[in-house]
């Protein structure tokens, strides 16, 4: 579009004159230059310098960018060349962000499949040394602690959001809004230390149990639930509330029976996304839920293994032989990734399928 505009203008000064008269590279020409420099980069990195994929990208990308810029500058002038340079940089930055995502997924799937078998999901690590064993205890622990976290966080989060949107005026509401922001920024490890410091007072310094993990994770989950619920409640049209008041319905029943149902799909999607966000948290659980090799169904007593902690400790303290434990770590990482992906998908489906039908 900018090109069309430029051509309508009368040339002023050298740069513009050149841009108009000195020729403009066609799309094909640009891609040709990019392909050529890319080929140069690839030839240089693999056969000549013999370096790995990550280093190759670090060498090739600048060659392509600088090469194309130089050609464009010679043919089209400085302004167009700068524009092309920025376009390439912007595209590169996007590619650079997607590359680790693809690489992470690929590495996890590749390494995780080795032990992604039935034994992994049906046995725990009790008495297992070396090969074999599974993550049943960790999966159960993750499910239990995550459910407990949701049970604590969802009511508090939703009610707080209701307070902020439907009731909150004045200083208290402003404070809570501010504190929710602050809470979003609490490092996960600090949440874990908080839960430990709290329960230590009552149960002594050796305290490790599942519910403590749930409390720590709640510190992280509540602000997410508040934020998403608030957003959803705010987009419920005021007409609905007023119609309800006009029918003589008291405010609380308006909120419970009119406003909340209208926002229900968005809120549940938000809650599931929040669960997906905290299901992978490791640090707080490492501190207050601890690690164990046994299956433990009691949230209120004894250490409880969880998938993220299992992943971490299998990898960090593999024992002997280390390969078996590392394979388990990758399989646990793969399980965790799948859980997160499934939760995110479910959230999207809920948001799409259950959305209230608008006019």
């Amino acid at each position: 579009m900018s090109a069309d505009v430029l051509e309508l203008e009368r040339p002023r000064g050298d740069a513009l004159a050149r841009a108009l008269q000195g020729g403009q590279m066609s799309r094909t020409a640009v891609w040709g230059v990019v392909a050529f420099t890319l080929a140069v980069g690839i030839v240089l990195t693999f056969p000549v310098l013999h370096i790995g994929p990550v280093a190759a990208v670090l060498v090739t990308a600048p060659i392509v960018i600088v090469g194309t810029w130089a050609v464009s500058r010679a043919v089209e002038g400085a302004r167009r060349a700068t524009d092309r340079l920025v376009t390439m940089l912007v595209m590169t930055s996007f590619a650079l962000a997607v590359a680790p995502l693809v690489s992470v997924l690929w590495t996890v799937v590749q390494n995780g499949l080795a032990r992604f078998d039935t034994q992994f999901f049906t046995s725990d690590m009790r008495g297992v040394i070396g090969e074999g064993g599974g993550a049943l205890h960790a999966i159960m622990g993750t499910l239990l602690i995550t459910s407990a976290t949701a049970v604590i966080s969802v009511p508090i989060g939703i009610l707080t959001a209701i307070y902020l949107v439907e009731y909150g005026r004045g200083a208290l509401a402003r404070w809570i809004t501010m504190l929710v922001d602050v809470m979003t920024g609490i490092p996960s490890i600090v949440a874990g230390l908080f839960a430990f410091a709290l329960f230590r007072i009552f149960f002594g310094p050796a305290i490790r149990f599942g519910i403590g993990g749930a409390v720590a994770l709640s510190v992280m989950m509540i602000p997410i639930v508040v934020r998403t619920t608030e957003e959803m409640l705010r987009i419920v049209p005021n007409d609905l509330r007023e119609a309800s008041y006009a029918l003589g319905v008291p405010k609380w029943r308006t909120v419970v029976q009119v406003v909340l149902p209208a926002a229900a799909s968005g809120i549940s999607a938000g809650v599931i996304v929040a669960v997906a966000r905290i299901i992978g948290e490791t640090a707080p659980l490492l501190i207050i839920a601890g690690a164990t090799t046994n299956l433990n169904f009691n949230l209120f007593s004894g250490r409880m293994a969880t998938l993220p902690v299992f992943t971490f400790s299998s990898y960090a303290q593999p024992g002997f032989p280390p390969e078996a434990a590392k394979d388990r770590a990758w399989a646990a990482a793969l399980t965790l990734m799948l859980l997160v992906m499934i939760l995110n998908l479910v959230a999207r489906l809920i948001a799409r399928l259950l959305a209230p039908k608008t006019a």
Binding site: D83, I156, Y163, Y167, P250, W252, A316
Partner: protein, 313 residues
């Protein structure tokens, strides 16, 4: 307190009819809000309460400071690398998604970057220690061989790739989604008329971005950076898995003797600690809490200011 009589309710504003259910419900909602206030106060109080014994122990304040300083240094250094790498990238991605990509694919592209935020930190840590670090070894060797006159690349270069540089890069990947999301939000609000005016005056796309979109988004970029910094400072597992720690304060980014970070140190040491060591770790946690708290508050203030300026301009 009883149910209001009809004549009274007529004089009350809509939705303010007094009703016992209303009173109860509003108190329940308010109580939920108060829980948040109490929890936050609790976090600060319990950390102070459990961390305080360290300051009165034998080594006292100076002992604690000499313990926490290398950790703090490691935290700041790794976060600085993360910011230096992530901020330009995030601006680039946000520009790509809002200004370059065709509207039809912009949303899926944005979602792709958001997906990165969904990857648990322990998984990214595993990848960083196993894949990224290993593949960066030749780069570190090259840097150590050719650029060792720069203190940052003094070497000797690590053979495992589990260096401060790798930790910083992994942190950069982890904060990229949040910084990008915030930048995207501001760039999207850049005034359309001004953008079109710039293009109509013959500006190239980059000149338009530089004269309209970037100045408009400046405060947004700053606050996004600060919030990303808050995230990077507190990130635990990725650093715990990636960084090989055995050293003190050093600016050498490619060696294997690095200072740990506050958060990673707690995660690694806590399970084996007892007695006063636990208190010391909690006290370092308190230091981390205070720092991230301040960074986040400054970030939010900039957002709010920026919002006002943006609305006026």
């Amino acid at each position: 307190m009883a149910v209001a009589t009809p004549p009274q309710s007529k004089t009350l504003p809509i939705g303010r009819t007094r009703h016992r259910g209303d009173t109860i419900f509003s108190w329940i909602a308010r109580a939920a809000g108060l829980v948040i206030v109490i929890v936050l106060a609790g976090v600060a109080l319990f950390l102070i309460f459990e961390g305080a014994p360290v300051l009165t122990a034998e080594s006292g304040v100076s002992g604690f400071l000499s313990y926490v300083w290398p950790l703090l240094f490691g935290t700041l250094l790794s976060s600085a690398i993360a910011l230096i790498v992530a901020t330009p990238l995030a601006i680039g991605i946000a520009l790509f998604v809002t200004q370059y990509a065709p509207p039809k694919v912009a949303a899926p592209f944005g979602y792709l970057v958001d997906l990165l935020a969904a990857v648990p930190s322990v998984v990214i840590g595993l990848w960083g220690a196993n894949y990224l670090g290993k593949h960066l070894v030749p780069v570190y060797q090259w840097l150590g061989a050719h650029l060792s006159w720069i203190p940052l690349f003094a070497g000797p270069s690590s053979a495992t790739g589990r260096t401060m540089m790798t930790a910083g890069l992994v942190l950069a990947i982890m904060i990229l989604p949040i910084v990008t999301a915030l930048c995207r939000e501001v760039f999207r609000q850049a005034p359309r008329l001004q953008k079109e005016a710039a293009l109509a005056l013959g500006a190239t796309r980059w000149e338009m971005l530089r004269s309209v979109v970037l100045p408009f988004g400046r405060s947004g970029i700053i606050s996004a950076t600060l919030l990303g910094l808050g995230r990077a400072l507190g990130e635990t597992m990725a650093v715990a898995l990636v960084l090989s720690t055995s050293g003190g304060v050093t600016f050498n980014l490619i060696g294997s003797a690095n200072p740990s970070t506050v958060a990673a140190n707690v995660a690694l040491k806590f399970p084996e600690s007892t007695g006063i060591d636990v208190n010391r770790l909690i006290a370092t946690g308190l230091v981390l809490f205070v720092i991230t708290f301040l960074v986040n508050v400054v970030g939010r203030v900039v957002v709010r200011r920026g919002g006002e300026v943006g609305a006026g301009g």
